[in-house]
Symmetry: C2
Subunit: 230 residues, 2 copies
């Protein structure tokens, strides 16, 4: 909120800030795949000039988050189920290697923090607090990548997630996903505390793979071909 206030105190938000705003709207499902991003609407809602809004569109297009068509403007890009598969495969590889690295070189404090977050999530599972679980989960994964000393990977993963964020939110509510995820986390934390790199990597890959399988099953149940595909 600090940034937003600061932006308003000045004349208006920068292109980067507008892009962040749009990204947050996508994450919270207020903007869904296929939806058109009309310039004037964004201007009204952010206070940014047309110039800044168009800057933001270019940046988001480069990230692959929006699609720009000539004379039709920007719209939120969706991902096909096949692209989702590729996304998750990439995440499994990247976060897997971070887990291994974390297990070998994280500080004691980082390890403890990782375990604590996992414990908190378990409480959320029993107490039925999926939103809080989602936030903790995001923190947990970030901590792991940061502790592995790889901000580049952290950045990539954050971008990879955005196209399916509107789904993650829903999926956390349904089925036994929370319980399963908590169990996965427990395995990873154990390997980390044992300083067992390969085990941590394998457990992390399995964890991501489970998330993907859950998404696939969900999609098959709803039985439309793509996930927000347009």
């Amino acid at each position: 909120m600090n940034d937003a206030v600061e932006a308003l105190a000045r004349k208006g938000p920068t292109g980067v800030e507008v892009a962040d705003w749009i990204r947050s709207q996508i994450r919270s499902s207020r903007l869904v795949p296929g939806q058109r991003l009309v310039e004037v609407d964004i201007i009204r809602q952010t206070g940014g000039s047309r110039f800044k809004v168009r800057e933001a569109f270019q940046r988001l297009a480069a990230e692959g988050l929006v699609e720009i068509e000539e004379f039709r403007g920007a719209s939120v890009r969706g991902a096909s189920m096949d692209e989702v598969r590729q996304l998750y495969r990439a995440r499994a590889a990247l976060e897997g290697i971070c887990a291994a690295e974390f297990a070998l070189k994280a500080t004691d404090e980082q390890r403890r923090k990782l375990a604590d977050l996992a414990d908190e999530m378990e409480v959320c599972v029993e107490g039925g607090a999926p939103e809080r679980f989602g936030q903790l989960n995001s923190d947990w994964h970030s901590l792991l990548m940061r502790g592995a000393g790889n901000a580049v990977i952290e950045d990539i993963v954050k971008r990879l997630n955005t196209p399916v964020h509107h789904l993650l939110f829903e999926t956390f509510y349904k089925g036994d996903r929370l319980r399963e995820a908590a169990r996965d986390h427990r395995l990873i934390v154990k390997a980390v505390l044992d300083r067992d790199g390969p085990a941590a990597e394998m457990a992390m890959r399995q964890h991501i793979e489970n998330g993907h399988r859950f998404l696939t099953d969900l999609d098959r149940a709803v039985h439309h071909g793509g996930v927000g595909e347009v």
Copy 2:
């Protein structure tokens, strides 16, 4: 060249085309880290309007390839040795998993093509044709990722490479890097032909790691702290 001709036949290049042009200049070391990208210069050289050039800057900034400072414009971003390490770690993870996948599910034709390219590269090593080796090497890695059925990873890796491309070019000329790389490729191809996923993954990770070590040694020899860092 086809695209460039087409662009000239029309009124001028699009923002994406200007971005591609800048990227190619960086790849060929005609633009080096720290160098400022003056709008009028780009306009003169590409024929694009100022509008398009600024679009291109935004896209490249989103990719992390250029840096934009207020009232100072865009400049080519360099990478610190620590960032290079993170980059290579990410590549090792991503290409490693692609190698494993390729070994399991590539078509016979793709396998043969992979082996053929490796053979061609060996010839280049003996014949002393490093530029051709570089091209073949790029094709080889692309083929592997495409054959693994993961265009998302292919895209990420391409971006990851750009900030160090001006180095790759030099490094191919020096020392025994070519010979070493050819040997690595041989190991990977063997694992692929054996349909041994884990072996392919391990060999690929080692290959990327070797490339990183070579870069590190080179940097230590030249003994300045960063690689095009500004």
